[in-house]
Amino acid sequence: MTVLRFSRKNLALPYALFLLVFVAAPLLVLFYYAFTNGQGHFTLSNLTGFFTDPNTLGTLCYSFAIAAVTTLVCLCIAYPTAYILANSRLKQKSVLVMLFIMPMWINFSLRITALKEILTLIEGNLAMFPFFNAVIGMTYDFLPFMILPIYTTLSKMDRSLIEAAKDLGADEKAAFLKITLPLSVPGIVSGISMVFLPAMTNYVVLDMLYNSTYIMGSLIGSYFSAYNWHGGSMIALILLAIICIFTLLTSGMEDEDSRAMGGARL
């Protein structure tokens, strides 16, 4: 009789299975569609098509612009907010933090619908400022994702570093610019990566705001609804590549900082 031995490796099985079914397989399918044509033959026409079509390139630029402005606006609101939250001695601090996180618990479509109503009240016709409205919608949706990482970095920061800077002759402003700001870069970076990339693709926000402009996400959506799996897959793949490049660039920066901070805590 064989005795059933339970190895700890078996614990990884469900996850491996999950990866295989939901990550590896779809990726393969994506690759397959991106580099084939309707007849199932290998082709690069989807790739070249993307970069030669002024419409798709225009959408790429437009998405970049929306994402960049959204990220900037989020950062400008989030950093001071996170800074004040992290430094307040209020006992109700957790309540305040909660207030910023709470919207994430409310159904997304509900929130955006509410926003749409407010914007309609103010502007009358939503079609008048499509770019502006897109930025507002995205900012409203993504702000907590910018606040949280910055807040976490700031509140984990060793207070004595600020004191040391002041001790060495730095006034409030210098201490902030030379110590607090550089040390909160990892939080800013992860905030940006959590806002910038989704902002390029989250076309649902635009749809719900009756926004007729196109971003990358809408582009993929339109290809797919026209049953052009091949073109849509290629755009998805290009976005994936952009994400990978961005992550590689920023992770280098993040690692260095977090290593340095870890060292100081020893």
Partner: protein
């Protein structure tokens, strides 16, 4: 001689927002070039005091003078004072050079001048060539040296050190102690040092400030503090001590531990005293030659000497001797007059306030005491309508009258059954006094009780305090 004091603290009090008094009425004058150490257990207010000198905390009351000028509310960056932080606080995103240059760059110094100074100070702390290393590649000891270098490069008038060696291992700590002392002697900068390590304080300081519960307990040279502790706290905190309660029996004569000894402190006859004897001053002799006799109960080898515990009657005394003894040996104990430090005993009477309830009974902490107001207030009488009048015939309003109860430490009993006690609390301090332990119990009502008990309880034990009514004295609160 006004300008000889570099810094003066005048009546410094610090009360935190939550009402906790960290430092109260602290006075100190530090001379130029001195090495002063704040020594005390954690929470004694030493770090708070340092932070007020640095400018990180503002005193609630009092004044800080630097070279005679008031700097009490000056921000830290305008004070010619630099700090070495407990956990170094080196900037992790800068290399060593930039860390050390930080202060000089704030002063807008020329870069070549900065480079020269950084190199010089790195030489001073023995870390030549470390300019381009990152903070995280340094060991704890090296980070410590960089932190010192970063402070010293600014040529401060005062260098503050907040337990700078706390995170280092023993060997490293000993080395750094000597190096710091050497640096102090070479540079001539005033050092103010905070530590809870008495040996560190004794090794390095010109003068030591012993602190406890936000108050200065004693200020003096290491020799003064060690040889002439002013009270039982200092004696117990600095070095090892045998501490006994005693009484003066005549001119330069005192009686404690079951024997009469000659002492050199002139205290009035009949005064209750606390006698402190250092273990190395206890002389062991043949039983018949000693002032008192005892039995050896334990002998521990300590390398340079033996630590011998002797039981004499109900008292216990620790002696240090190069001669070995064995448990069960009968010995005599002699104490040289100048080895006995006599301190006038602090009054340890416990006072607490009780309310009077509507049935004219005393109430404290939800317990009713089995006594009546008429017995407490002299001349008071109960009237027919139930009210009570005092000796002058005025009605005593129970809600507006409070009674102060006093009880001696030896009359309070501790119990594990916390519910049985009149009040419960945690043991926050204990001192061995020869034949008993003196405990400080911090109660849930935020009051400290001093309790004497012959048995050993542990720090932080949760105990109930049983206080017999017949041992209490009562007084009307004015």
């Amino acid at each position: 001689m006004q300008n000889e004091n570099i810094i003066e603290l005048k009546h410094i009090t610090k009360v935190y927002e939550d009402g906790f008094t960290a430092v109260s009425d602290f006075n100190l004058e530090v001379r130029k070039g001195e090495f002063v150490t704040f020594l005390g257990p954690s929470g004694c207010g030493k770090t708070t005091t340092l932070r007020m000198i640095a400018g990180f905390d503002l005193p609630t009351e009092g004044q800080i003078l630097l070279n005679g000028k008031d700097i009490t509310s000056l921000p830290p960056y305008e004070r010619p004072i630099n700090t070495v932080f407990q956990r170094y606080a080196l900037f992790p995103h800068m290399n060593i050079y930039d860390n050390i240059a930080f202060g000089l760059r704030q002063k807008k110094m020329k870069e070549e001048e900065i480079a020269r100074k950084v190199k010089k100070v790195l030489d001073l702390v023995d870390l030549e060539g470390f300019e381009n290393r990152s903070v995280s590649t340094l060991s704890g000891g090296q980070q410590q040296r960089i932190a010192i270098a970063r402070a010293l490069v600014n040529e401060p008038q005062i260098l503050l050190l907040d337990e700078p060696l706390g995170a280092l291992d023993l060997k490293m700590r000993k080395e750094m102690q000597l190096e710091l002392k050497q640096m102090h002697d070479d540079l001539g900068i005033t050092f103010i040092y905070v530590t809870h390590d008495q040996e560190e304080a004794l090794t390095m300081s010109d003068r030591i400030v012993v602190m406890s519960e936000g108050k200065m307990q004693q200020l003096g040279t290491p020799e003064d503090i060690y040889n002439e502790p002013r009270n039982a706290f200092v004696a117990d905190f600095i070095g090892e001590s045998n501490i006994f309660n005693g009484i003066m029996t005549g001119h330069l004569k005192t009686r404690f531990c079951g024997g009469e000894f000659i002492c050199v402190d002139d205290v009035e006859e009949g005064t209750h005293i606390t006698a402190v004897v250092r273990p190395e001053d206890v002389e062991l002799t043949a039983p018949e030659k000693g002032t008192i006799r005892g039995v050896v109960t334990s002998v521990i080898f300590k390398g340079m000497h033996y630590e011998i515990t002797i039981e004499s009657g109900k008292n216990e005394m620790v002696a240090r001797s190069v001669h070995v003894a064995k448990p069960g040996d009968q010995v005599g104990i002699c104490l040289a007059p100048d080895s006995i430090h006599v301190m006038i005993a602090e009054d340890h009477t416990n006072y607490f306030t009780a309310d009077i309830n509507d049935s004219h009974r005393l109430e404290y902490n939800g317990h009713t005491l089995d006594t009546s107001v008429t017995r407490i207030i002299p001349g008071s009488k109960r009237q027919e309508d139930g009210t009570i009048i005092d000796a002058n015939g005025e009605v005593i309003d129970p809600r507006r009258t409070r009674i102060v109860i006093s009880i001696q430490p030896q009359d309070i009993r501790m119990t594990d059954q916390v519910d049985e006690g009149l009040v419960e609390g945690y043991i926050s301090n204990l001192i061995y006094k020869g034949d008993h332990y003196s405990y400080v119990i911090h109660t849930d009502l935020e009051q400290d009780f001093i309790v004497d008990d012959e048995y050993l309880w542990n720090m932080d034990d949760h105990v109930g305090l049983i206080m017999p009514i017949e041992k209490m004295s009562f007084a009307l609160k004015k």
